[in-house]
Amino acid sequence: MITIENLSFTYPKADRPALQNMSIRFETGLVNVLIGLNGAGKTTLFDIISGLYKPQHGHITNLPHIQDMLYQIQGTFLSALVKGKEYIRLIYNISGKKFINDENYIIEQMNLKSDREKELLKDLWNKKIGQMSVGERRWLYVITLTQLKRSLYIFDEPTSGVDPSSRIKIYKRIEELSQMEGNVIILSTHHLHDLKFITCKINVLHKGSILFEGDYQSFISLYGSENPDIAFDNCINNLNQEVITEAQVYA
């Protein structure tokens, strides 16, 4: 478990703190999900946990060394000219995993279960990154990274731009990682409906502080809607236990 206590951080020249006296616990055995509006401070928190920024106040306990940490960042970063297999090869070879230039071996080694995923990997194997859709790139990226053995995994919006079918598979893959002993998984997302199907703890980050910590059922119960997007809206507007219909929200 990783514990953060009274964490505060303000960017240079910023007029308000990105994180303010924030306390949170990231547990093992489940997926710790961080949700919040754009600019709520999720990536800042990840950058602090991963050691890119030093907290100005507060402290973090039980953080592993950088070599035992995996941080998947949001942005695209690869040359469009690189093929899928070359990308997998690089990731495998720099992190000590055995790479064999055979897609069937990699499919088996990655333990891809569905036919669609197997077909997708075969399709992307010789395809250049520039020819892949944003979702395909993200899928390949996340699925490859989940093969690496670490004790802390940070996924910053791993399903952004990914189709619903692949999204579920990515979440399931991440959930499997969380079941391995001692692993801490932290994930940020804007796809709240998918969280219903995984064992997770939701943390709502708003204006630099945590508004809610708990499981999916508690979240929708407390914020009065089966629709997690509406529950989230209620949460950040401090409207707990009031039932607001979807029509009212969209109005």
Partner: protein
């Protein structure tokens, strides 16, 4: 995972990208100095210079090619890697930024050696100078200056510079710096002379002249002490900069 193996993986990875980006870019990088060299010295066809007379010109162009290779291939690339998130992402995958940078340095050393050997072979053949001797001087110079120059380039990457800024500054100063090295002569003011010698193009130019002296058993008055001092300054800059190379973009969220 050994550092050498990881660095080699990055070297192969970059190499594929560079080759796919187009051989034209690589050829152009070496064709431009050849065209400029031949154009500037076109009268050598009528009034052939001795090798001793030609060497300062060759040394100046070697300096230009070498500094260009490391400035654009190391300093620029690392800044681009930082800005597009590549450095941050792969540091967390590989556990360290060292193999990402070492792979790049190895790539530039290999490509730089090919460039400088090709340039020297072409101009030696065109003007009828001893090809193997000149290629030997050029490649030895390149290898000798590469480590200190890399130190200097790493220190450039610690500045919060955008690539566009660095690109403009580099383009403004590179060619004039080559001609200044070639034509300026010695200044009586010792401090000013040292400042000039501290510039990378002059450093490579003077090193090349010294190596030519050693390999041709001649003397033209340059001292090794000055070059060693500059090398040491560059190396110290690089060593102190290593830990300060940022992983986070200074302009964009990645």
């Amino acid at each position: 995972m050994s550092l050498v193996k990881s660095s080699y993986e990055f070297f192969l990875f970059y190499n594929k990208i560079v080759i796919r980006e187009g051989v034209l870019g690589l050829v152009w990088a070496v064709l431009v100095p050849i065209i400029i060299f031949i154009s500037l010295n076109i009268n050598w066809f009528d009034h052939k210079q001795t090798i001793t007379e030609a060497l300062p010109f060759l040394c100046a162009f070697w300096a230009y090619i070498t500094v260009n290779t490391f400035l654009f291939g190391v300093a620029f690339r690392i800044i681009i890697f930082r800005e597009n998130g590549f450095l941050r992402c792969f540091t967390y995958i590989g556990g360290s930024k060292a193999p990402i940078i070492l792979g790049l340095l190895f790539l530039q050393i290999v490509h730089g050696l090919i460039n400088i050997a090709f340039f020297t072979s072409v101009v030696s053949s065109v003007f009828g100078y001893p090809l193997f001797l000149l290629v030997e001087i050029a490649t030895v110079t390149f290898l000798v200056v590469s480590i200190p120059l890399i130190g200097l380039m790493l220190s450039l990457t610690t500045l919060s510079l955008q690539t566009s800024t660095l690109y403009s500054i580099a383009n403004m100063f590179m060619l004039p710096a080559m001609f200044i090295a070639l034509y300026r002569g010695t200044i009586s003011n010792g401090f000013l002379e040292f400042i000039f010698r501290l510039t990378p193009v002059e450093f490579v130019y003077n090193t090349a002249l010294n190596i030519s002296d050693i390999m041709l058993v001649q003397s033209n008055g340059y001292t090794l002490f000055g070059l060693l001092s500059v090398s040491l300054i560059y190396l110290i800059c690089g060593i102190f900069s290593w830990k300060r190379i940022k992983l986070i973009s200074v302009t964009t969220r990645t």
